[in-house]
Amino acid sequence: MKRTSRTKHFEPPRWTRRSSLVGLAAVLAVVAARPAMAADVQKAKCDLHAVHLTKQGDGSIPPELSFLERELRDDQFAAYKGFRLLERKDVVIAAKTPTKAAFRTGHNLGLTLLGGDAKRLRIRAALSNRSGDRTLVQTTYAIDDGGVFLLGGPSYNGGKLLFAIRCRGQRG
C-alpha cells in the first residue's frame, strides 16, 4: 500500500505519548523486579515418575498414577491400554546446579532450577536415550509450583516411556 503524506507526518496527540511513557515505565519496573523474584526460590523438591505405556492392558490407571488419569485418558494416549509406574524418584534440585536422576530403564533425566518465586518455577530439563550416550531433548520451561510437566516418547520394552516431572519450590 502506498504511504500517504498524511501518514508520514502523523504525530500522536500529547496524551497518547504520556500514556506510552507511563506504560514503558511500568514495563521497565516489571523487568527490573523480575530478577529479585527469580532469586526467591533456591531449591525445589521434585518427584519424577517413569511410566510405561503399552498397547496391551485393560485400560485401567493404577492408583499411583491417579494424578495423571485425566492426561492418560486423553486422545494422545488412545493407542495405549497399559499404564504402569516403572519407577519413582524424589530429588532436590538447587538453583543453577544441574542434578541428574538415573532411571533403571537407562534413561537419565537432568534437571536444573533456573529460578522461580512462590508461584512459578523455571526449570531446565534434559532427557537422555536409554544407553545414556545421547541427549534426546533438552528444554527450558516455566510452570506453576507443583505443576506437572510431561516428557514422553522413548521406546521401551515394546511400548513407550512417559516421564512426569513435578517440582515444588522450597524457600530458605
Partner: protein, 231 residues
C-alpha cells in the same frame, strides 16, 4: 410445505415409527390419498439416508482404538454403578437387564454417548501456538533461547548434567507401591521457553488434565511415535 392436517414433526415421527398405531394409520391413509404428501415423506427418507451416510463416513475416520476406549469407559461406568450397591440392587439391575426393552435402551444410550464422543473428537480443538512440530536439532526461532542456554549436550550426558547425583530411589518398596502424594490446585500449563531435539525430532502438545492444560513434549526416536495422531 407440510400437509395441512399434519405437522412436519408428525410426519417425521411417522417416518421414524414413533407414532401410536391410530395416528400412524391416519397418516398412512393420508399418504395414499395425497401424492404430494407421499413425496414429502420420501424427501424425509432421503434426508435421513444422506445424514446416516455422512455420520458413518465420519465414524470411519475415528480410529478403532478410540471407539474401544469409549466402550471401555461405558463398561467401567456400568461396573462402577453396580459394584458398590447391595445384592438387592444387583438383583434388581439383573431383572432390569433381563427386560426386553432394556438392551435396546442401553444400546441407544451407548450410541448417544458415542455420538457425543465423536462430536468432541472431530471438533477442532484450540491449539496453542507452541503446538508445533520441531525438526531434529533445529528449534524454531520463536522457541530458541539465544544466550542463557548451554551448548548442546556432550555425548554420554544430557546437557548440563554433571556428576552430582542427588536422586534417591523412593524408600519403602517397589515403585508400584509408591503412591502419588499431593493433589493441589497448581496449574500444569507450562511456558516452554526453549527446546532442542538432538538427533531426533519431536513436538509439543497440550492436553487437558485435571489442573487445566498439561504440556507434553513428545520425542520421536528412531521409529514413529504411536499416538492416535499417527494412526
Amino acid at each position: 410445505m407440510s400437509h395441512p392436517s399434519f405437522e412436519p414433526e408428525t410426519l417425521s415421527a411417522y417416518h421414524d415409527g414413533e407414532l401410536p398405531p391410530e395416528d400412524a394409520a391416519r397418516v398412512e391413509a393420508a399418504l395414499r390419498a395425497d401424492p404430494k404428501l407421499a413425496r414429502e415423506t420420501e424427501a424425509i427418507d432421503e434426508l435421513g439416508t444422506a445424514l446416516r451416510a455422512v455420520l458413518e463416513a465420519d465414524a470411519n475416520d475415528v480410529p478403532d482404538a478410540r471407539f474401544e476406549q469409549i466402550w471401555d469407559a461405558i463398561e467401567r461406568e456400568i461396573d462402577a454403578q453396580v459394584a458398590p450397591e447391595s445384592t438387592g440392587l444387583v438383583a434388581r439391575l439383573r431383572a432390569w437387564w433381563g427386560g426386553a426393552w432394556a438392551r435396546p435402551a442401553l444400546a441407544v444410550a451407548g450410541v448417544s454417548v458415542a455420538s457425543l464422543a465423536l462430536f468432541f473428537a472431530l471438533r477442532d480443538p484450540p491449539r496453542d501456538a507452541q503446538d508445533t512440530q520441531v525438526a531434529a536439532g533445529r528449534p524454531t526461532p520463536a522457541q530458541a533461547e539465544p544466550s542463557p542456554e548451554p551448548p548442546p549436550a556432550k555425548a554420554g550426558v544430557p546437557s548440563g548434567d554433571v556428576a552430582q547425583p542427588v536422586a534417591a530411589p523412593t524408600p519403602g518398596g517397589p515403585p508400584a507401591l509408591a503412591a502419588a502424594t499431593v493433589e493441589d490446585d497448581a496449574s500444569n500449563e507450562a511456558e516452554v521457553e526453549f527446546i532442542e531435539f538432538q538427533g531426533s525430532s519431536g513436538r509439543i502438545e497440550r492436553i487437558e488434565g485435571r489442573r487445566g492444560t498439561t504440556t507434553v513434549i513428545w520425542v520421536r526416536e528412531d521409529e514413529p511415535v504411536d499416538t492416535e495422531r499417527d494412526l
